[in-house]
Symmetry: C2
Amino acid sequence: MVTLQDVAKAAGVSIATASWAINDSKDARIPQETRQRVRKVAVSLGYRQNALARGLARGQSDSIGFISDGVATSPFAGQVIRGAQAEAWQNGKILLVVDTNGDKRIEKETFAFMMERQVEGIVYSTWVHHAVEPPKELRQVNSVLVNCFDRRRQYPAVVPNEIQGGRSATEILLKAGHRRIAFVNDIDSSPAAIGRLEGYRQALSSYGVQFDPSTIIRAPSNQEGGYRSIEAVLATKATAVFCHNDRMAMGLYDALHERGLKVPDDISIVGFDNQEVISAHLHPALTTVALPQYELGVLGIRTLLESTEQVKPQTDETSQTKRKIIHVTCPIIVRDSVFPSNQVIHH
Amino acid sequence: MVTLQDVAKAAGVSIATASWAINDSKDARIPQETRQRVRKVAVSLGYRQNALARGLARGQSDSIGFISDGVATSPFAGQVIRGAQAEAWQNGKILLVVDTNGDKRIEKETFAFMMERQVEGIVYSTWVHHAVEPPKELRQVNSVLVNCFDRRRQYPAVVPNEIQGGRSATEILLKAGHRRIAFVNDIDSSPAAIGRLEGYRQALSSYGVQFDPSTIIRAPSNQEGGYRSIEAVLATKATAVFCHNDRMAMGLYDALHERGLKVPDDISIVGFDNQEVISAHLHPALTTVALPQYELGVLGIRTLLESTEQVKPQTDETSQTKRKIIHVTCPIIVRDSVFPSNQVIHH
DNA sequence: GTGAAAGCGCTAACAT
DNA sequence: ATGTTAGCGCTTTCAC
């Protein structure tokens, strides 16, 4: 293993100078010539910094912890890690990723493990968008919540904008001319269920359409739920349906198919999540609203890095400052399940 | 920040003794009483090891690099990371995960970055099972390939057993009494396409069924491919179809549906991949073969750790030793798309 | 401009 | 059984 010592010796300079040259320190007063020479030598010797030594000396590890309760498992949330990692990388940091599988004990251990490794902060991310009660330890370090939030607002959080998403989904139907729109929502209450409903109502209202509670159908948020809600959907006499997610839409497609009803000719459908393996490949392909997963990851890290620069972690338990929640836009993905589609495109 | 120094002082022992007590060194000859006392003090002081300092002193980082070309992206391969991480964790190691997005330049940078961080080895994993040419640098360190392999067998590799998978898929159909079985394979050649076909042929052969090339249909391995292969499938007069993957099966379901054909009454179907969001939720739920993703991750790390213990990384370019390839079993997941299903269960 | 040297927090060989 | 001490490889202050 080649050390800085070796490089210095080979270049005929002191180890301090070598360090400056390698790191290209702005404030070090060494001539370009020396810098170049040292670096040449370093390359020719195949020198590589030892991040452990560097971190120890500088009291900084250039690493960020990423705790998730299953992001890596989720079929459609790995993108969050990708975004986080890309943004961390941009800033010369590396991510220590641990999936706790939702286990509180593992979570605590993970936290300790990360602290030992001198992480500069921790991103705490969840699989589904919901309220969490993060382990108190998290307050000892800079941290941000991604795809979740704590009710007391002790941590900055980055979440998808469910309301806007629900609004966009509904508006695309309204723009296409639909006025009677059913909403097959998740039977479980959640930020997604609440937010998307609110968006749905806002959209109707902005188009002057009276909200009719009987157009709201609730079912489990999976294919079966969508499939089984067919009767209720047809009973609403709606010409279009906004499904809480793509999986429900997939189930609804099946049920519609079985009754010989065509999408979008007989009924228009909009989903949510843009779970590509489903939405992009249904017949017809499903118009849906995408979850900004990659962005959530990016913004999570960015938020963390910003707060690292400025403030120290809050240790003052009495502090009442509410941390901000960033709501990230959910873009609409137009495909072929809304009729008449030409109108959709023109607006 | 509390250091070992502080703990030693508070406990009234030397720093060395403190270190031994904390690490519970077997060979250190210190009485239990002292150990206990020191640890009590450490806890009460809120002491936490500094992994950087420890790693520097021991020349060991307890971390493993995990490079992937998109595992985190893949809707169904995040499990590989989960498995890898769980196994690493078991051994007191942490994973440094970087997704290169398939970019060769990022790949090189990632490698350098990981070496700087003194990783004890690198797992190089790919999204699809295929042959790779890993960057030469990889040979400088202990490494193992996961879900991919190099033709020259310079690295140990862990891959799914495609042949056995294909065999299992076909056998379940044979056991159910089917004798004319179409195989809708991927039109692109790949270890999966080749292996699954081989398994299909082996299964037929072991049941004394003559292989008929006309039952092999090739199409792009996605929903559209499956959907469009309907004519060809029907033309084979097969009573059952083995699809190269669940996505193709999903497309085929759609096409079958449109012609009023029922699964499994009119035709039985088996998929591959066990992409749950699809397979578990089609109507009827799809019998399929699962990719052992979690296991791939576990075995990747285990293999790495084993070789770390024993051999040093091969630097000898002329060495001709072929590294082993571990083929991991792909379990069959029985659901409702094979008829008659009762027979299936009884065997 | 450059170098000497004091750490960073910990481990482990060596002394006692 | 316990303490002393020399590093691990690097950064950075301070002196020249």
